[in-house]
Amino acid sequence: MYYYVYDEFIQDPRFERDLALIETRVTDLGIAGKIARLALFRDPKELIRDEIRKGAKTIVAVGNDVTLRRVIDAVGDTGAVIGTIPLGKDNLMLSDILGIPVGVEACDILSARIIEQLDTGEVNGRRFLHTVSAPQVSQLEVQVERTYKLKAYKKCSLEVRNLAIADEDVRAANPVDGKLECVLRTLAKGLFRKNKYNVSIVPAKEFHVTLSEIVKCQADGEEFESNELRFKIIPKALKVITGKGRKF
């Protein structure tokens, strides 16, 4: 049984046509289901958990990455399969990595049901799918799996990646390898006073990071403050429908 979670922003009239096409297509494909419309005071966790208890096996986030993250948080470890139908223009990085096209074409991907079991990361008890980042600090120490320590002796920023595409200086992070990647960017002198970074990459299952000061960190775009970060990987924690064009 499918359960579709419509984000608040797609209830705008400019998405009316897209939604009509999507609803027709899911009916044609035989994957139609109940629809929940998110609103300001409607807790998605309560709605989704309730529907899973009633027998929903696939929860589909209709919206953007924020919608998908809210669905992931709500599904947690219930074992339900997560799908997404991306809409709009902004905040669609996760669906792009998962290989899901925007709009009605995503319905065919849902129907094909290529399910991947993805790892999720945990930082200070909070789950994340994508990355956690901390801004540049003067001192930073990372204890890796209780066997060795990394100490940055120059100004350094931190990023811990679970599911991420390759960027200028770092490779893509694979969410099915059972490891997180700790990325440290230490400041190096560049030509003409342009900042340049040396990049360290350490894959591991557990990290304990101590920062020299309390800083604003971001877990999948959500802010929190801390000077101590405990990371661990939860292997194969999520069942997610992906497209053939997925980037991992």
Binding site: T147, Y148, K149, L150, K151, A152, Y153, K154, C156, A166, D169, V170, R171, D177, K179, L184, T186, L187, A188, N198, V199, S200, I201, V202, P203, K205
Partner: protein, 123 residues
């Protein structure tokens, strides 16, 4: 530095490693290490790197400084800027002009075992 694939570990300049560093994949070290290093794959030690450790790897290319014993099960390449203070065990050895070696070299084909990362059993 070039982009890399797989579970390669990179320790860049500006970072120091302390303790027993074991990797199942390839390792690139441009920073400092104190302790032990074991790489089941290929090991590259950059010209700014300073290693105060015993090192074991499958293949190694060294252009920095190692103070400790180095054991390589296959091929070891010491480049012109390398400085080795310790004993070497290797099957195949290539030494560039300018490389410094202060220690004993053994090439008797002995078996070198690299410790693997501990793997958790799946329930």
């Amino acid at each position: 530095m070039a982009k890399n694939q797989g579970s390669e570990t990179i320790i860049a300049h500006g970072v120091r490693v302390e303790g027993d560093f074991v990797s199942d994949g390839d390792v690139v070290i441009e920073g400092e290490v104190a302790g032990n290093v074991q790489a089941a794959g290929d090991l590259r030690i950059g010209d700014q790197a300073k290693i105060h450790a015993d090192v074991i790897a499958r293949n190694a290319v060294v252009s920095g400084e190692i103070r400790g014993n180095l054991q390589v099960s296959e091929k070891l390449e010491l480049l012109a800027s390398s400085r080795m203070i310790g004993d070497i065990v290797a099957s195949i050895l290539s030494v560039a002009s300018g490389a410094q070696i202060n220690g004993k070299i053994t090439m008797d084909g002995r078996e070198i075992k690299v410790k693997k990362e501990e793997k958790e059993s799946e329930d």
